[in-house]
Amino acid sequence: MTDQDIVNGLTRILRDLLSDDSIVLRMETKRDEVANWDSFAYVSFIVAVEIEFGVKFGVAEVESFPNVGAIARRISAILLPR
């Protein structure tokens, strides 16, 4: 799975979560650039991502992901050894 595949997966999750099919995430997208992606929706997003990709982020990670790319790279790093 490439980082872009992961970003596509993240886009689909966020679209479902916010019922907004116009969302397109890129590696450099930040949370405040997406309408309605507030802190509550962010928690739900992280939960959905953890379930979908079968990963678990640490508390420090979820608090400090600077952008979508950081999330994608972290997922990639967790999944790589498998």
Partner: protein, 628 residues
């Protein structure tokens, strides 16, 4: 988790279809809610459902729920609403401001007071209750500290009831305390894990005493494992004590309790036979060839399902059989097989033939005189399950796992028979339904209906509500959907209030006949109209479907009229408020001699009836009277 629900085929596609403008959105969403949904799917379905109004559409009922919490619970709301939808219950769910549950209940200006909830859920963490108790606390000190927490909760429960007449549902405490001493924790009164365990025990006792309902997530977390329910990252990140992954289960557990309180729990367990109640096919393998009983794991697994069904019967669930079999061959197993735990007399309706199971399920509901939506159908065959789900979507059909060892767990996890009462009448219900079978036989041998009723030797035992019967009466009021002209639900405390008021006339009726005691089968609450001293209103009148067609409604009205006359009452007023289930009493009051009011129409097709007591002609019945 939620493995009793079938997986959704093409969730997105179904959701898109449901949202098309011309479609029957609510029905399609309700059908989708019958499936196993993940965290994200639950949120999507909830959003598609949208806000629910005060009016409930045909075939749905509604409820206003307020959750007062000491942790974040907003993430649970979608699952609660979707689980309500699964039961055709449209819930308007409000979450009180974070951590302000006391203020919300106690301050008259709070948001809660504008909302007027019908159900108040208290979702609290154990932290507050145990934080001040030192590790060195003696057993007595720990008791006292826990007692203070419980007393405060009781005060809040009382407040919720007095202010809103709301049903109070108290969540049990999730025991998230880490071991401190290890196994020795249980021997240290002040150890956090022990304090929380103790808190839950005391909570149960207080709730039983006060008639408050519990939402037992502590038990659920033991079932699923604490890690499924508590995710420390979510706690640290967002103060969510209940893990978002557990939301679908949480919602279902809560909706069960609400549905049970509304009389929407299932009533009858319908069992398939071959490879369900026993291993193998009786028609092919014969009585010696089927696998049942001690000795083999498979035989014991099937026996375990029988044992569970028998226990359910003991708590008031009706048992039925629906099987593709030769009836004589199938019945012979119940009569002759030494390992059978269920006997023929345990089964209130026994249908074995080669016809379509959906038609047979309809027949069972008719025979038992219960709504088809109160059936649960357990069958090992996926094709039969799919067919029944397709043609009878209102029947609950658990997705039984392939392994017979898991049957009981699957059925138990589904929580179809969630209850908010348990009375002595419940444990006798099985016998009462079986006695009904004897009555059926007697009816067939009778020359006429009149002959049958005379031959039953019926007597009614009646009087004001008896204290020992209050729980049964509240249950009858809560569960009766058919013979219930107003469908007003009154809690146990309401019922107790009616008894205490000297202006109310509450009447209970028990019907006995030559085949046995039918139990307390009818209750009537007559309330005076403050505006008109000579007028009394039939606020509530319920009757168990077990005794329909026995003239009890006539004799009960004779008794009510006589009693009211003695109190100086001159007129009765009675409303009929139609629902999808109470068509059986549409013409009740007209048949009893009431006249339709000429006043402006009531809402929702309701009708208002009056009876001038001096005009009442008592109905002659075959029921003798005995007063209590």
């Amino acid at each position: 988790m939620m493995d009793w629900l079938p997986a959704a085929q093409d969730f997105r596609g179904c959701l898109r279809l449901a949202l098309e403008p011309s479609s029957n959105r609510l029905e399609k969403l309700a059908a989708l809610a019958q499936h196993k949904l993940g965290f994200l799917e639950t949120i999507q379905l909830d959003r598609a459902l949208g806000p629910v109004g005060a009016e409930s559409p045909q075939g749905f009922s509604s409820g206003r729920v307020a959750i007062l919490a000491s942790a974040t619970v907003d993430h649970l709301v979608p699952a609660i609403r979707v689980s309500g939808l699964r039961r055709r219950l449209l819930l308007d769910v409000h979450v009180g401001p974070y951590g302000q549950y006391r203020q919300q209940l106690l301050e008259a200006e709070s948001l809660l007071h504008q909302l007027r909830p019908q159900i108040v859920v208290l979702s609290l963490t154990a932290r507050e209750a145990i934080v001040a108790v030192p590790l060195t606390a003696t057993s007595a000190e720990a008791d006292a500290a826990i007692g203070r927490s419980i007393d405060e909760l009781r005060m809040l429960w009382r407040k919720a009831r007095e202010t809103f007449h709301a049903t109070v549902i108290q969540q049990t405490f999730l025991n998230i305390a880490e071991p401190l001493f290890g196994s020795y924790d249980r021997l240290v009164a002040g150890a956090p894990a022990q304090l929380i365990a103790h808190l839950n025990e005391q909570l149960s006792l207080a709730a039983a005493e006060d008639g408050v309902l519990l939402l037992d997530i502590a038990r659920a977390s033991e079932r699923d494992g604490l890690d499924a329910w508590f995710d420390v990252t979510r706690w640290l990140q967002a103060k969510m004590e209940i893990a978002p992954r557990a939301a679908p289960v949480y919602g279902d557990l809560l909706a069960r309790v609400i549905a049970a309180q509304r009389g929407l729990s299932k009533k009858c367990l319908v069992l398939d036979l071959d490879n369900t109640l026993w291993g193998g096919v009786i028609g092919d393998d014969g009585p010696e060839g089927i696998i049942l009983g001690e000795g083999t794991g498979t035989g014991e697994a099937h026996l375990a399902l029988q044992r569970y069904a028998k226990q359910l019967r003991e708590r008031g669930v009706i048992l039925a059989v629906c099987s593709k079999n030769d009836p004589a061959v199938a019945e012979a197993v119940f009569r002759d097989h030494p390992e059978m735990l269920l006997r023929r007399a345990d089964i209130a309706a026994f249908v074995a033939n080669w016809e379509d199971k959906s038609a047979n399920l309809r027949r069972i509901a008719e025979q038992l005189n219960i709504g088809i939506e109160s059936l649960v159908f357990v069958d090992d065959n996926p094709a039969e399950r799919a067919r029944v789900r397709q043609s009878l979507p209102m029947v609950a059909v658990p997705e039984l796992p392939a392994d017979a060892a898991q049957y009981v767990r699957c059925l138990a996890d589904a929580g179809y028979f969630e209850s908010v009462f348990f009375t002595a009448d419940d444990s006798r219900r099985g016998e009462q339904y079986s006695a009904n079978a004897s009555r059926e036989v007697f009816l067939e041998s009778s020359q006429s209906m009149d002959d049958f009723l005379r031959g039953l030797d019926m007597s009614v035992i009646f009087g004001p509500f008896q204290t020992v019967d209050l729980a049964r009466i509240a249950q009858l009021i809560g569960k009766t959907n058919q013979f219930n002209p107003t469908t007003r639900r009154h809690s146990l405390e309401d019922v107790a209030r009616f008894v205490a008021s000297d202006r109310c006339l509450p009447l209970q009726f028990r019907l006995v006949d030559r085949f046995g005691d039918n139990g307390l089968v009818s209750a009537m609450i007559l309330r005076p109209d403050p505006q008109a001293p000579d007028l009394i209103e039939i606020d509530t009148w319920v009757m168990s479907c077990r005794v329909f067609g026995r003239q009890l409604e006539w004799e009960a009205m004779n008794i009510a009229v006589e009693t009211a006359c003695r109190m100086g009452v001159r007129r009765f007023r009675a409303d009929y408020i139609p629902t999808s289930k109470n068509g059986v009493v549409r013409d009740l009051y007209s048949a009893l001699g009431f006249t339709l009011a000429q006043e402006p129409a009531l809402q929702d097709g309701a009708k208002r009836w009056f009876l001038q007591l001096s005009d009442y002609v008592p109905h002659s019945t075959h029921i003798a009277r005995r007063s209590e």
